[in-house]
């Protein structure tokens, strides 16, 4: 995982699923399946393509995704769509969307309005979009130190400085966040600040998420 290209998970809905080895559109993304309890992107439910739309029984695990682009979700071939014994997302999870977001200093930030995912090979959830009480958007990095209940999401202090108001800036902040976490876990978590921040991620590359439609 090196790239920090990110997009809103909700923007994936409606994209065709196209096979790299076949050039065929084998499905269309219906919904994102997210395991809130573990802050984990599980995969996607699917619709059929073409005239006979409607729900497809098969689903797409996140691990089978090669890339998520503005125009399509790419998989190797149609065997990557799985007929799950336990449908994705039927596992017990906390709801996250709608939860109140509380910062480490005890103030209300807003509520969770979306999930931010990476767009490369094997995409993963890396952040939450928060609709602020001040009507601003906040992008908060996911970390293992987050506490989640049925109603609230607590942001740990270690993540506070990596919150951003824009998706592009957030993509860049993620790399720093990860570095900080790695440094902290190596240093035994009590070290003050990780000084050695090598060259910052050069270009965060836009997540080209907005309104591209299809």
């Amino acid at each position: 995982m090196t790239t920090s290209r990110v997009m809103k998970a909700s923007d994936v809905s409606g994209l065709p699923v196209v096979t790299i080895n076949g050039g065929d559109d084998v499905a269309e993304i219906k919904d994102v399946v997210f395991d809130g309890t573990n802050h984990r992107l599980v995969g996607f439910t699917l619709n059929k393509r073409g005239w006979f739309r409607g729900k497809l029984r098969k689903q797409l695990p996140a691990g089978s995704v090669r890339a998520i682009g503005p125009d399509a979700v790419m998989v190797a071939d149609d065997s990557d769509l799985e007929d799950p014994e336990v449908p994705l997302g039927k596992a017990e999870t906390h709801a996250v969307i709608g939860n109140r977001v509380i910062s480490a200093d005890g103030s209300n930030l807003g509520h969770v309005s979306g999930v931010i995912i990476t767009t490369g090979d094997d995409p993963e959830a890396v952040g939450y979009e928060v609709e602020g009480d001040d009507d601003k958007a906040y992008f908060v990095p996911i970390s293992a130190q987050m506490a989640l209940s049925d109603n609230n999401l607590l942001i740990p202090e270690s993540s506070t400085e990596f919150i951003r108001h824009d998706l592009v800036g957030f993509g860049a902040a993620l790399a720093d966040h990860r570095r900080a976490l790695d440094a902290a876990s190596q240093a035994g978590a009590h070290q003050p600040k990780p000084q050695p921040a090598p060259e910052p991620e050069p270009k965060p590359e836009s997540g080209t998420t907005g309104g591209s439609g299809s």
Binding site: V18, R66, G69, A72
Partner: protein, 146 residues
Amino acid sequence: MSDAFTSAIGRKVVDSATADDVGEVKAFVVDQAGRQITRIQVAGRHRHARMVDWDDVDSFGDDVVLISSQGAIHEPDDERTTDIVKGDVHYIGTRILTVEGVKLGKVKDVHFDTKTGEVIALMSDSGRVEGARIRSLGTYAAVVEG
């Protein structure tokens, strides 16, 4: 030598043994990897689609395509050929999609090697895509390396 789909379509097809006119080039069947012409569809006054394998093309000339014999002409007999004859799969006009899921425009023309039938490059409204970058040609898109 290279040639392009748009200029080759409509070219006369002649039996090299008898010198008979057989018809004209109507379409190219390209393998699923999008890299190799495997067959040519020959148009003519016939009820069924008529195909000639690339191996039976003696010479793909500037003015005439010489085929080994009219006996080599056959009907579509596999799924890929049927898809192409029906128009479900075709290069010209299809969208180009990178393996990263980014649309690069549409295929305007295809350059190919007249000796080997290999696809040399795709010409699109956003530039040239070398054949080596092509991963597949399917019902939805030509998928290429980014």
